[in-house]
Symmetry: C2
């Protein structure tokens, strides 16, 4: 099974996403996008599984160097970024090189920032090996590293030339990590597509069991929705903010738990619950929508409560969120399944109550 | 005297360059381009001279923070870049902030890279206070920091929203630094404008004496030529490489002398001499053009020889130049005053001879 969609930008920078099973080893897909040198950024776990396959799929005569970075959000630092640049320069890669990200969202974000800024921008290919990265971070050109002061505070908008989304790579994905990706898939239903949400309600068990047809459908529809947002608002001037549904809360949860206790998708799952609670309190959304989202997240095996988090600390942590404009924290609220909007401000007591209703002390 | 030109890109990102005398203190020029916060990057020398004037010209109620960085190419490091990001985050600047570069090319390059990558890009204003920065680095959106492995290896293309080129700031510029800027002015004549080159031959003494009318004319024409190159080739895919005339040699000279012995413009002056010698050896240029360039650089008080440099070391240093494509070093050669072209390769012995002819042992 093989399929593709195109992320439409301005013509010159449009790029394809190929997805299906076992596309990673298909040399014919990569060949048109690389020159004489490639620089692969990955981590040890992923390298053990897929690096040989990727290298074998490179055209003959292409020189490949590899940088294996640390795992997890903790490795997504300006120090890792600088080390990769050191390695690129040490190996004398020039402007015609192509950086390939082989791994999850962390690898993609850091490698993308490297590609965006090495010699003011070189070629970039995303090969996301997690569900989360395939449906979220690999599409749309956001690259970044974290800072002590907050997540993704340093980065660039930089589009890949190609995304290869191989669902066969999920076979080796731990259950928790796989489900964290399902959280973002559910998000697409909530923010943009009532029918897709209903499909997810019907197929959540098949998705949990990683039924290939269900997985490919979920990845494809998620990428289509994301690509449409990116096409309409590449640099997050407005509309693209809808994709951050649940993320204002989610980022604060991650920050307060040191990026350690929950995976990003899990934090977003809890954050979506809080965002639905806030939407309900602002009377933006019918009560049954909140219940449907809650129920689907639970059926998907995702956390919907943050144990032991301090509500005051959450409020403070949200103050340095990137989505702050002139001192006000913006929220994405739901108006009903399939539709969200951005509000510039929300009453502090309602935000507190929404957080508190999803925190167990 | 007040004038402006527009750097034309894609409409949305077009930006004006205002130039003239004492434009820095004109609040009406800055006000439309800033929101509630600005973050000024400068150095101590420049801050002593112009920071108060700039701050007074900001609209009432705008919060301004200042970062004073070290001086010279040595300060143009990823460490300085990271320190400025730390300060921005510490002071809780958000996405709506505007980074203002107040200083020479080093300040502009580093501050621009910060603006390009803080929260994936914030507003940016260039206030270049040296001739070199006004005619070269502040226009065109190149931002970067240096790496041990080479100059400007890490950076981004990121356009300012406004450039304020105040020639009154030259009054405090040391002679050597001012003349280093004249080197780039002469470059514009060589690469793109026979008439401008002839005007420079006639007005080089007035320019050296910093006659205001002559200076403004030189800055305006230089910016027009550069803006035209940038408009036609924003990301240096081809044509914009012409602006690098003399720079392949110049960068190698700077690298071998640890960015310490010559100012950038001085190294470019020597590099242009070497590039003219190479052009002559490749029979690309009439002998009298080489002589005219040499003579104008000398009359402008610029160095035309590199004492004590090793030719072999120069060749090696050029191997990691950004302008290398697939192992070959590209050169910009002159076809006659006002016209240059890029060649993908040059015979090693001719490159050596060209360097050697401008090196005194």
């Amino acid at each position: 099974m093989r399929d593709s969609i195109t992320v439409e930008l301005d013509g010159a920078r449009d790029y394809p996403i190929f997805f299906g099973s076992d596309v990673l080893g298909d040399a014919s897909l990569i060949a048109p996008y690389v020159g004489g040198q490639v620089f692969i950024v990955t981590n040890d776990v992923v390298a053990n599984l897929y690096l040989d396959t990727l290298r074998e799929s490179l055209p003959t005569g292409v020189r490949s160097d590899v940088f294996s970075m640390g795992e997890g959000e903790r490795a997504k630092t300006i120090e890792t970024y600088a080390s990769i640049l050191d390695a690129l320069i040490e190996a004398r890669h020039n402007r015609t090189t192509t950086v390939i990200a082989l791994g999850g969202g962390v690898v993609g974000d850091v490698a993308g920032f490297v590609a965006a800024t090495y010699q003011r921008g070189v070629g970039f290919i995303q090969i996301p090996t997690t569900l989360l990265a395939q449906v979220d971070s690999s599409v749309g050109g956001k690259t970044a590293v974290n800072h002590e002061g907050g997540k993704n505070l340093i980065g660039a908008f930089y589009q890949p030339r190609l995304v290869l989304a191989d669902v066969a790579t999920f076979r080796s994905l731990p259950e928790r990590e796989y489900l964290a990706g399902v959280a973002e898939v559910i998000k697409y239903g909530v923010i943009a597509d009532t029918e897709f949400f209903a499909w997810l309600e019907e197929n959540v068990d098949a998705l949990r069991e990683r039924d290939e047809t269900a997985v490919i459908n979920a990845v494809r529809r998620s990428c289509e929705i994301k690509a449409d947002f990116v096409r309409r608002d590449e640099r997050e001037q407005g509309l693209r903010a809808h994709l951050n549904f649940g993320h204002t809360f989610g980022h604060a949860i991650e920050k307060l738990t040191d990026f350690d206790r929950w995976l990003h998708g899990e934090a977003v799952s809890i954050g979506m619950g809080m965002a639905m609670e806030l939407s309900a309190r602002l009377e933006q959304v019918p009560a049954d929508a909140t219940e449907r989202v809650h129920s689907l997240l639970e059926r998907a095996g995702l956390p919907t409560r943050a144990d032991g988090l301090d509500t005051g600390a959450m409020i403070e942590a949200m103050g340095m969120d990137k989505k702050v404009v002139d001192g006000k924290t913006r929220f994405v609220v739901c108006e009903g399944i399939g539709s969200v909007r951005v509000i510039d401000e929300a009453p502090g007591d309602l935000v507190r109550a929404s957080i508190a209703s999803r925190v167990t002390l």
